[in-house]
């Protein structure tokens, strides 16, 4: 006879190891849709890399055109391409808007499989401390959801608790599901 194992999903566990030290996203609720929108400040920090990288690529092009300094052009251009690519890779997740649509009855975060809204069981607020080797550690918070199949998906991840908690309450009302505040004491 097969042994039946009892298992429980640890809802206190955070899903992301890292997280930004600023308000990166907010929730917007409009009629039958709720979506996650990136903040201007978070976009700006990503744009810094794209601007610096593009500047270096442009500078490299002009140096090559004007003075034929191939080595310097390659050096600056290489750095520029690396920094721009990095900036683009950073900004991409911000551009993917996760949404909860009552019309289609779907949650879509452009990453995981779509989830039917009726399959979302609860929302959880979790906390963590992001540790940096060469910078100050800081508090960070997550809003995660639990589906009927036991899947947990991250919705928000930043360090502005008041905003996150407000957004979580609004989303819980929108979806008509319970919100669990599962913040825990963290002993370092």
């Amino acid at each position: 006879m097969r042994e039946i194992k009892n298992f429980q999903i640890d809802l206190k566990r955070t899903l992301m190891q890292d997280g930004p030290k600023f308000l990166s996203h907010i929730l917007v609720v409009k009629n039958h849709i709720a979506y996650i929108k990136p903040t201007i400040s978070s976009m700006l920090f990503c744009v810094v890399y794209i601007v610096v990288g593009s500047f270096l690529i442009t500078l490299a092009s002009f140096i090559y055109i004007e003075s034929q300094k191939m080595d310097l052009a390659l050096f600056l251009g290489g750095f520029g391409i690396a920094i721009t690519t990095f900036g683009i890779s950073l900004i991409q997740p911000f551009l993917k808007r996760a949404s909860f649509s009552k019309q289609s009855n779907l949650f879509n975060n452009k990453k995981d499989r779509n989830v039917k809204l009726t399959h979302i069981v609860s929302l959880q607020v979790n906390n963590k401390i992001v540790k940096r080797k060469q910078a100050l550690s800081y508090h960070c918070f997550e809003l995660n959801m639990l589906t009927k199949n036991g899947r947990r998906i991250n919705i928000l991840n930043h360090n502005d608790f008041l905003q996150l908690h407000g957004d979580a309450q609004a989303l819980a009302r929108f979806l008509d599901i319970p919100l669990l505040d599962l913040r825990r004491e963290i002993i370092l």
Binding site: V48, L59, F62, L72, F79, R132
Partner: protein, 513 residues
């Protein structure tokens, strides 16, 4: 479409070298004027500070800075007091790094192993001190300075052991949840335990002030300055365009320290150790390709150490340069390493102290010696050693290029990344000192971070001079307060050490491998 064409035309105007050429004279003059005024400002307002820190006494035909003696004497005293720990306990330190005393089943989530802590700290320590610092030491102190760097590295191991053990022992958890440690905390708490809270507070505040200045100076302006100097050497970029290097570096530093973006910090942490591997690999190639000259290079190093031929002040001159640059490179006795090591997750402060004592050995005794061998083998650093010719990063780069031209490009890449990562590390040290003095808070922290970024631009723009003297002085000044405290607190470290060793021998602390 027309709009795009207009934008391109404006950009062409802005960046074309003909446009630069037309304005070159004015631009050069403006930058030179800024450089002179900034240098003058530092000379006028910080000259007394630099003079005070580097107060010298005549010795053997040279002016011997008392601060160098202060560091050397302290390292010698710690070496004797801890029973030559760097030699007798090196095996134990290596065993700890290998994880022989770590229970493989008890690793907590997010715990950083001692090996990871060592590689992290090393990647922070291996940097421009090993490249530009050795170049500067040999340009003024001749090949003999290398010997004194090695001596300083060996003795400095004991200083680092002492300060890093205290850093972990007296670390504090701040209201934000951040773990904070370092001289500010062990000076104030350690002295308070002995009923001398006032003295401890004075030393802690003094250290924090010097740490902030050091983070703006050696940990920032010097790095930016040498990064641009490397570009000038490798690609003939005019020195007045340092402002562009500065702005680009400042923008990237800003995004990391102000933005708090998780990814860039992780990328830097991953890339820098590879840069250290690249640098060591290049040095090994140069040494391997000239293996027949290594014997002669070592002879020059040992002869120069005691004769000081061609050095102003003879052997004392060589000794001063060796000790100064070794301290700048391995930071033993300065106190900065104690800030970095205090964040490690360990129950035994001594284990972190033992791991940290390996750093001056790897950094100075091994890597700085490799750089010195490369320079001595290349033969570009000829007597008289007055620093008038190639010096700093350019001497090191030119010496590498003697073997293969491509090395200057790889070195340029390594120097820029080292400079960047060192700036990030020192922004952390400076911020720790800043928050110690002014408290935690987003506005106070932002003020420091913005100031830090401004100094990146200043460092890359201005020429060598008073600013670099100030950078040096601020870092050395940290050791005045730190070492004064270490003398007082070294019995605490000895007690921890004896307890740890006794528990290792009794089997209470188990060996798992």
């Amino acid at each position: 479409m027309i709009k795009i064409k207009q934008i391109l035309a404006v950009m062409l105007m802005a960046f074309s070298t003909s446009a630069f050429a037309a304005e070159e004279g004015g631009f050069k003059e403006t930058i030179a004027a800024i450089s002179t005024s900034v240098d003058g400002f530092f000379n006028d307002y910080t000259g007394w500070f630099v003079g005070g820190v580097f107060k010298s006494v005549p010795l053997g035909g040279a002016n011997f800075p008392l601060i160098v003696g202060w560091l050397l004497l302290a390292a010698a005293i710690f070496t004797v007091y801890f029973g030559f720990i760097q030699f007798r306990r090196a095996g134990l330190a290596i065993d700890i790094v290998k994880g022989k005393y770590t229970d493989p089943n008890s690793k907590d989530e997010g715990e950083v192993s001692h090996f990871q802590a060592l590689t992290t700290a090393l990647s922070g320590t291996v940097g421009l001190g090993n490249i530009a610092g050795v170049g500067a030491a040999l340009a003024i102190g001749g090949p003999g300075a290398t010997f004194w760097m090695i001596v300083c590295g060996l003795l400095g191991m004991a200083s680092k052991f002492c300060e890093c053990t205290l850093g972990v022992k007296y670390r504090t958890i701040l209201p934000s949840g951040a773990v904070s440690g370092g001289p500010m905390y062990y000076l104030s708490q350690g002295f308070a335990e002995k009923g001398l809270g006032g003295v401890g507070k004075f030393l802690a505040v003094g250290f924090a002030l010097m740490c902030i200045l050091g983070s703006f100076g050696g940990g920032n302006m010097f790095q930016a300055n040498q990064a641009h100097a490397m570009l000038t050497y490798a690609f003939d970029v005019p020195s007045e365009y340092g402002i562009i290097t500065g702005v680009v570096l400042a923008a990237l530093v800003f995004s990391v320290i102000v933005g708090g973006m998780p990814s860039i910090a992780s990328v830097t942490e991953k890339v820098v150790p590879w840069m250290a591997v690249l640098y060591v690999g290049m040095a090994l190639i140069v040494i391997g390709a000239n293996i027949d000259q290594v014997g002669a290079a070592f002879s020059a190093i040992f002869e120069g150490a005691f004769t000081g031929a061609g050095v102003v002040g003879g052997f004392v001159g060589a000794l001063i340069q060796g000790l100064k640059r070794a301290t700048f490179s391995n930071e033993a006795g300065v106190g900065s390493a104690a800030i970095a090591h205090s964040a490690v997750k360990t129950k035994e402060p001594v284990t972190e102290g033992l791991v940290s004592l390996l750093e001056p050995f790897i950094d100075t005794v091994v890597i700085c010696t490799m750089t010195a061998l490369v320079i001595t083998i290349a033969g570009l650093n000829a007597a008289p050693f007055d620093g008038a010719g190639l010096t700093g990063v350019t001497l090191t780069a030119a010496s590498f290029t003697e073997t293969a031209d491509v090395f200057k490009y790889l070195l340029a890449l390594a120097v820029i990344l080292f400079a960047f990562s060192t700036m990030i590390s020192w922004s952390y040290y400076g911020l720790k000192a800043w928050t110690y003095l002014f408290g935690e808070g987003s506005t106070t922290e932002l003020v420091f971070k913005v100031l830090f970024c401004v100094f990146v631009v200043v460092g890359a723009t201005i020429q060598f001079g008073a600013v670099i003297d100030f950078s040096d002085a601020a870092i050395f000044a940290m050791s005045i307060f730190n070492i004064a405290g270490l003398y007082f607190l070294m019995p605490v470290v000895k007690k921890e050490l004896n307890s740890f060793i006794a528990r290792v021998y009794s089997g209470e602390i188990k060996k798992f491998k």
